[in-house]
Amino acid sequence: MSAARSKVLLLLPAVAVFALLLVAPILMVLDESFRAFEPGRIGSVQGASLTLANYAELLLPAYVQYFAQTYFLAFCASVVAVFIAFPISYCIARTESPSTRKASLSAIVGLMFLSALVRVYALELTFGSAGVLSPVMSFMNINPNGRQYINFVIVAGLLHYAIPMSILILFGAIQNLDPRLIEAAQSLGASALSSHITVTLPLCTRGIFSAFVVSMTLGVSAFIIPWILGRGRVLFISNLIYTRFSEVADYPSGAAISIVMMVLSLLMIFSMSRLATSFERT
């Protein structure tokens, strides 16, 4: 009994901080999302009437498209990131030299410290329509002003974060994998490829899903990458939220978008978690 009480007491400070800094602001956002907005004012006025209009507006095809676009591009970036990160993580985890492993991990962690603006403008200066590769693209008959091309550059921007993060997550999963299991499979006649597919990958499922979910989270919440690389023509949900709060001061609408985004993200994490569990069972 006393042990249970101690646990509760130990948890109390963390719960208090969590409630104060996360739950309370989210409740305020939730309340704001149901308030009517008076044009020309900053946020909802005191005593503003309750309304569902801020949510109803998001059912318009244009907004459904913004959500779909955000999740689709984040999904593409996450899939590519996991595909690229896995072999790199595998190599680092299986490197025999501890110093090479340390140096590789330090380099990956170091990448995370590079400013977002530096990465974004580096991509813009390279792949933008006035970038250094512009003549090459022109020669290859690629239109740098086309929508698909802009989407490609945004995905490249998202990969700047998703790949290092996925490598770090997958590194843990691969390192925890007992290499004797693969040796056993191969000693029983499995080829390198089939032992990789039937032993390594299934045992890394949880890590792969974790890397994917974290990459998705980074992608969906990306702000500066679509803001700059999207040239204002491709907007992510974060950009819409920023515009609502900061540029037009329509807090209720911005709050409604935020709540919908949060619910969708929670649903995504829940589904991915279920999917990972079912994969592990099979």
């Binding site: 907005f37 044009p39 020309g40 004012r41 900053i42 946020g43 507006e57 318009l60 244009a62 907004y63 498209q65 913004y66 933008g128 329509s129 006035a130 740098p144 002003n145 929508r147 803001w227 040239r231 204002g232 023509r233 907007l235 950009n239 819409l240 515009t243 709060f245 900061s246 540029e247 037009v248 001061a249 329509d250 807090y251 609408s253």
Partner: protein
């Protein structure tokens, strides 16, 4: 940072001494009143106003910069109200309207700002109680302009924006930037005005479908970067920026074009308001210093703006945005700012729903 322990201790002691003297000064109660927090635009504006502030010693200014457009700071002020931590806030016509509605500004009088007497009264904005809330410092204009060195042909009318030769070469601002004066231009050209924007939306749809828009600007910096990098060649912006760019690039400012061209010039003014609850007397004192004839002329010469003080001299470089009465009639347009400030939200949503999907 500290190479030796002694050095560290020395610095720590100095910091402690500074802290102690600071708190002593606060107790005495004299210094705090003389230090204000002011928010100004970045780039040239910030550099020049700091130079100006250095020429006086009565008021110490803790400078902060706007992040994004003039509206972006208003939600932050609301979140911190009634203690915004800002004494002097720069803004322009549309933001004054919103500040007036919120009742945040300290009333401005000639007793508190004597130099206000030399500023045209037409520039003063009043709140619901009839109090003046702004201290103008610069008259400027939103102008269309293009880079002649990279434009594929001389651009003479707004209809040229649909020319296929301008594929990907236009930098068009979103409606929340510049109070949507860019679309007001389109409306005026097609027979509408700020209250009849339908013709502008129709033109905008054609423009979006044409593929001529290379970048949608969300902030002034987007325009500057896009134009100077050569990504796009044509845009609309507050005149200071294109006038400054014209020192290094071959830029044609379309500020004095006939009405038929559609390239209208929108006159606006920038300035300060003093927020309630802070160091209001010191803020008024600094603003009064900054709008004196010489200081106002010096600042505006540096930022390529027109001084508001009628006793200030005007530099030659800003001729594109100086108008006599006849020119005002022919080239300029002063919109209904109060109305514009209530439309941004609706226009932005319509943009997201009807224009952005076409880009």
């Amino acid at each position: 940072m500290f190479s030796t322990r002694r050095q560290f201790l020395k610095s720590a002691t100095s910091a402690a001494a500074l802290g102690a003297s600071g708190s002593l000064a606060t107790t005495v109660g004299a210094r705090a009143e003389d230090t204000i927090t002011a928010v100004d635009w970045g780039g040239n504006y910030a550099n020049e106003i700091k130079k100006l502030a250095a020429k006086q010693s009565d008021i110490k200014v803790n400078w902060q910069l706007h992040a994004g457009g003039a509206m972006a700071i208003l939600p932050k002020i609301k979140a911190k109200w009634p203690n915004p931590g800002i004494d002097l806030l720069t803004g322009w016509d549309p933001s004054w309207q919103m500040i007036a509605r919120e009742g945040w500004a300290e009333p401005v009088t000639t007793e508190r700002v004597p130099n206000l007497a030399d500023i045209p009264h037409k520039l003063l904005v009043k709140d619901g109680s009839g109090n003046v809330i702004n201290i103008p410092r610069t008259i400027s204009a939103m102008v269309w302009f293009y880079r002649e060195d990279i434009a594929p042909f001389p651009i003479t009318t707004l209809d040229d924006l649909l020319d296929p030769r301008l594929k990907g070469k236009i930098c068009f601002p979103v409606p929340s930037l510049g109070s949507n004066l860019q679309m007001l231009s389109l409306a005026l050209h097609k027979g509408g005005d700020e209250r009849t924007m339908e013709p502008a939306w129709e033109f905008m749809k054609k423009l979006a479908r044409s593929g001529n828009i290379g970048r949608i600007a969300n902030a002034d910096t987007d325009i500057t970067t896009s134009i100077t990098s050569g990504e796009t060649c044509l845009s609309i912006q507050g005149a200071s920026a294109p006038i400054e760019r014209a020192r290094n690039f071959k830029i044609r400012i379309l500020s004095k074009m006939d009405k038929e061209s559609g390239f209208r010039t929108f006159i606006y003014h920038e300035g300060w308001c003093v927020l309630k609850g802070g160091h209001t007397d010191a803020a008024f004192k600094f603003a009064n210093f900054a709008i004196a004839p010489e200081t106002n002329a010096e600042f505006n010469r540096a930022i390529s703006g027109v001084p508001v003080n009628i006793k200030s001299k005007v530099s030659d470089e800003i001729k594109p945005i100086t108008f006599n009465n006849e020119e005002m009639e022919r080239f300029a347009y002063i919109p209904d700012w109060a109305f514009l400030s209530t439309q941004t939200d609706a226009w932005m949503k319509r943009w997201e729903q009807e224009i952005a999907p076409l880009l």
